[in-house]
Every structure is written in C-alpha cells, then in structure tokens.
C-alpha cells in the first residue's frame, strides 16, 4: 500500500501514483509541483550521454579555453591555471568555490553516473548504489558549468577592446559538455534508480 503512495515534496499532500504514460508527468493536485516523470530507455540514454560527457570533460579541463593577445604577448589559460592564479592572489575561498563548482562537482556527477549506470546496464546492482546516488542528488545544484560558460562569454566581450581574444579548443568542449550534462540529467529516471536499490 505504502509503495504506491507518494507525498508532494513541496506541500506534503499524499497521492496515489498509478501508471504515468511516457512523456507525461504526475503533478501535485494541490500545488502543481511535478512529482514523477517516467523516461524512455533511461539507463541506455543517460549512459550514452555520460560517456560523451567524460570525453568532453577531459578535453575541457586539459586544453586552453581562451587566448589573450596584446601585441606579441600571447597568454593562454586552462581552467587549472585560472584557479591557480586566484590561489596565488590569496583569494582562497573564491578559488576553492570555482574549483568545486566547475571542476570537482561535474567530475563527481560523471563518475557517479558511470558507477551507477554501467552495472545497471549489465543487469547488476552496484554495491554502493544508494549512497552514491544520494551524493549525486545532493551535489546537483552545485554544478555550475553553464554559468561558468556565460562567464567566459561575458569576459571575452569585456576583453575584446583591450586585446585579441582567441577561442580555444576547451571552449567548444565546454559548450558540448553543458548540453551533454543536461541531457544526462533530463534522460535519467531517478525513480527507476531508486526502485533498483530495493531489490539489492
């Protein structure tokens, strides 16, 4: 009986959730908050986007994203050197915040998805499924790649009058990574993953 009930996360009203058709979503009848949205072929699709994400992530973090040229002086920066610059200026908190939201959290997202989805696809249940998926959900609001991307664009506009700006490989990898990561999140059926933990 309890398994078929779900409480709205925003107003705590109990609902009986039956079969929701693909592409549809179950919303709270009182406050309208979406409760459950089934996804087609969730594990395969999310895994595909995760794997693409890993590739783009590696490119984005190892190659320069912007080049800055005044006269003959060319300065290229990768994400790591940018954060290192902030540490050198004693902006410890900001540097850590950027490191966390742009490098660490997306990495944890990708790794945890790999850890969960690869075994599930092979019809096995990973040992630490519940704690890993909990970590993934907990860190969800702290991944800020898309905001960082906008930040790169704004600074490029700011610097364009001062010097020549050369877009780097990582810039395009970043753009691809943002789309791939959001596709990964959208195709993931959270309810399905939690269901899998019940049989382990």
């Amino acid at each position: 009986m309890t398994e078929h009930l779900i409480a709205c996360h925003a107003c705590d009203l109990l609902h009986r959730v039956g079969d929701v058709p693909l592409g549809g979503s179950a919303c709270c009848s009182r406050c309208g908050t979406p409760l459950y949205r089934p996804k087609r072929d969730s594990i395969n699709r999310s895994l595909a986007f995760t794997m693409a994400g890993v590739i783009f992530y590696l490119i984005a973090n190892t190659h320069p994203f912007l080049g800055f040229q005044i006269g003959s002086q060319l300065r290229e920066t990768t994400l790591a050197t940018g954060i290192f610059q902030l540490y050198q200026q004693d902006m410890f908190i900001i540097a850590t915040l950027v490191l966390f939201t742009v490098v660490i959290v997306p990495a944890i997202h990708l790794l945890s998805m790999l850890y969960i989805l690869v075994p599930l696809r092979a019809k096995m249940t990973p040992t630490f499924l519940a704690p890993v998926f909990r970590l993934y959900l907990m860190l969800k609001p702290w991944g800020m790649l898309e905001i960082f991307m906008l930040g790169i664009l704004v600074s490029a506009i700011k610097l364009v009058k001062m010097a020549t700006i050369i877009p780097g490989v990582a810039l395009f990898a970043f753009m691809a990574l943002i789309f791939v990561l959001s596709a990964m999140t959208v195709t993931l059926d959270e309810h399905l993953i939690w269901k899998k933990t019940e049989y382990s």
Partner: protein, 215 residues
Amino acid sequence: MEKNRVLLKFHSMTAKKAGLVSCHRCHLLSKLSSRKGKCPRCGAIIRSRKPESIARTWALIIAACIFYIPANILPVTYTTSIGMVQPDTIMSGVIYFIHSGSWPVALIIFIASVFVPLLKLLILIILLLSVQFRWQWRPVDRTRLYHLTEAIGRWSMLDIFVITVLVALVHLGALANIAAGQGALFFAIVVVITMFAAESFDPRLIWDNIENTDD
C-alpha cells in the same frame, strides 16, 4: 479555484497527518518514528519537516544581508592598464558596459549580480513572514515563488566566474593586469549563503498553516 478548495477539504491528507515521512532525497514514504531515523531505502536522515526551518533561514538571510553591503561597496576587481590602477565595484562594472555600448551584457550582469540576489532575499523574507504570521494568501503562488528562488540563485555566481576568467587571462604586469578585490569574496559568500537559505526553508510550512485553519 473554488472547486479545488472544496475538493481539498475532503481529500486533503498529508504524509504528516497519516503518520508518514517522505524522504527528501528518494521520496520513499516510511512510518514516522519518534526519534530521528534513517530512510530504509537510501539512508538519508528523514524528518517530517526540515529542522528549525524558520530560525535557520532567518539567520542565513540576515547574514546574507550583512555581507551584501561590503559586496557592493568594496571593489571586485583592480584593473591595471598602462600603469594606471582602477578599482571596480559590481555596479561600476555594469555602468562600464552601458557606456561601452554593450547594454545586453550590462543587462545580463545586472540581472545576475544585483537583481537576482535582491529578489531572492526579498522572496525568502516574504515567505518567512507569510509562514510566521499564518497568511492564507495564495499558497500555490507562494510555492511557485519558492521554486523560483531555488532555480535562480545559482546564476548569481556569474560575476565570480567572470572575475576568475579575467584574473586568469589578464596578467601582463604593468601593461595590463586584473586582480580580484575583497568585494568579490563577500559577493561569493552572499551567493553561497542564500543558496543554503533557500535549501533550509521548508515549503511545506506554507501548507501546514492552510490545513490547520481548515480543520
């Protein structure tokens, strides 16, 4: 709307009233036990309502308001250009973009760094007051406002990321150099604190008040 309310009176049964707790991570319903327990499915600590939601959210909002002042007064960047050092605050950065003709960029920065943090603080204060004074006013819209604050808060990080990129790229000594200022630090703290404030507020409190008067 009127029809809805009639329906509610007969069918409104919350998890709390039914003696159940909904896990905030995996949304599994389990029996409410008197001591704080863990969710049997995902292991997260489960509570019927977020603990001390109102007091915690107020504390974080007040802290954010205090840090918001130095964040706007102190310079966020120091730009050196051919030997001249120019400090910039968040607002002077916006004004710079308006003067240089790129008003869409000015608008983006203004929305992300000034409008969004203020809107978020204002919405949270209104929500807290509405819960404390048991307002019955438009619970659906207040829940929507809460979802809005959850969604927009992170975009305030934009200015911090712009500063990071600028600092990383522009350091050519006396010719051209950009360094981060103390204002950036305070601004980053404001963004993080307001994100925690939104997380500590429990939207279910809005609805608890509505139910209590229905009885």
